[in-house]
Symmetry: C2
């Protein structure tokens, strides 16, 4: 039996996990991400954590097949990071550098893509060959798996599905600088915005007028309790989400769409809401798609990172 | 040296070509597509054409690595055709059936996808690893290549890029039954429609008011001659095309976009028109894309079909 590590590198913490080759997570822990000094300490810290773990548990190097790591920025198939603004990183080959520091082979990918690979392998996409995952959080990220392979893209920027154009008439800019991106409507932030717009556009009574914080959770809760305005907001939201996923699945034709991120805490109501709109917008021959909610939570990145190592080094 | 055949099966003719393993097309010819009787004669006719060619040229079976075929309908990775309405075909495994009839291994794909593979291999996408091809003809089709592999999709319906949603407000239906598809705006038919709308919406003088046939060619020709209204129509067209390709490339992140189909006869003016809009709509990290025009014309399908055979059987 061989073993390895899956690493999910975030802007504040690094999540590390130790796996056996069947994909059982045997251990997991976190270390802080030290972004000072252009993030120069990050990889040495990760290497020290891994070497320390092996020493503490008396695991020989020969047991280790390799490491996978998800990184918050574009990473190409060769392991070249093309700037991680959160970490202060420029352009360099993270796979080579972390391999030099640890003595193990390393494979790297974009964090959102890598988390999608985790869900594909052990979560909502288990048993499929082609998957679209959309992470509906503060923004909209995700990943695409085609015949068991993660889509990297030519420059490590594949599957930036949150920046497909949803509304070319939009005049308010997205965080990316463009206007009308999927992320402006389909994120948790987007639901809140739709809620504010609906409250401003009418005098209709609504429990949303008195909530402490008008966020996605409040809107879903009000909708579940039958609040009419909240239901209208959610209907608009489902329409946007269905348009986005219908367009995307007409291109990719996956077996499964996995929805992740904070918005998914809404549960089945979200799936029931989006599916009719999805069928309005998807090309008929690509409509045979199962919708499901992500199951791995914050562990998805570590699972996916280790899976990349398993696929490449076992 | 091994050899093989690339076959492009269309609704009226079957194009056949004989290649050596380096991809040199040594011969090509056509036979009619007999669609009567639910298209039962099509595969026997193709098999007879190939067996006859080998006999006539005294080529031994041992020289032949296999056949590739592009089919006007969805075909999955295993060779299962899921209805070809033009041919009267239902659901069956074309690869198995044509292999049984010829005695050679067969690989099949959707015709538009297979033509894209041809352009990727020997045409506008030569030398790249990731490509988007959009065929702007009567409709909009195309194909996507990711790390040298054609995107098939879970049910053989991948890369139906002409049916991404471009305008959710559209009320006129597309041929597919949905409303607001890329194909309704970005095809040659779409340009003509934009032209008719522009003429109806104003009294402005334009040479387009007196052309015999208001089609894409007439509008490009008028635009090249400086006709103001034609230039406005083309500007709207470039905007739609840029939105479509910007969205698509934010997902796929290719090195190259190859434009094919009748609209491409417009030449460099088309590329010059679409690129600024593409950059308005594409996610910045995926913006490093070369635009080019398809070069193989009607031979693209045969090249791509043979390439599938080469990748699978050599």
């Amino acid at each position: 039996m061989k073993y390895g590590f899956g690493i999910d590198l975030g802007g504040t913490t690094v999540k590390l996990a130790y796996f056996d080759e069947t994909g059982t997570m045997l251990d997991k822990w976190e270390i802080p991400t030290v972004t000072e000094n252009s993030g120069k300490q990050i990889l040495p810290d990760i290497a020290a954590a891994i070497r320390g773990y092996l020493t503490a548990h008396a695991i020989p190097d020969s047991d280790i097949l390799g490491l996978g790591i998800g990184v918050p920025g574009p990473v190409d198939r060769q392991g070249v990071v093309n700037k991680c603004i959160n970490l202060g990183w420029g352009v360099f080959n993270i796979a080579q550098e972390l391999s030099g520091l640890t003595g193990f082979p390393v494979v790297a990918g974009n964090d959102a893509n890598v988390a999608a690979m985790g869900e594909f392998w052990k979560g909502g996409g288990k048993g499929c060959r082609n998957m679209v995952m959309a992470t509906l959080g503060t923004g909209v990220g995700g990943g695409i798996v085609i015949e068991n392979n993660l889509l990297f893209g030519a420059h490590g920027s594949g599957a930036e599905i949150g920046h497909m154009v949803l509304n070319p008439q939009e005049t308010i800019p997205c965080n990316c600088g463009k206007c009308g991106c999927v992320e402006q409507y389909c994120s948790a932030t987007g639901i809140a915005r739709l809620g504010r717009e609906a409250l401003a556009a009418s005098d209709e009574g609504s429990t949303l007028r008195t909530v402490e914080k008008l966020d996605a959770k409040a809107i879903f809760d009000a909708g579940k309790a039958g609040d009419k305005l909240a239901l209208q907001v959610l209907d608009r939201y489902y329409n946007y989400l269905g348009q986005f996923l219908g367009s995307l699945c007409s291109v990719i034709n996956p077996e499964v769409v996995v929805l992740g991120g904070g918005v998914c805490k809404a549960g089945q109501i979200l799936l029931d809401g989006v599916e009719p709109y999805f069928h309005k917008y998807v090309f008929h021959a690509a409509s045979n798609v199962r919708f499901t909610i992500a199951t791995l939570g914050n562990d998805a990145g570590a699972y996916g990172a280790f899976k990349l190592a398993l696929d490449k080094f076992l």
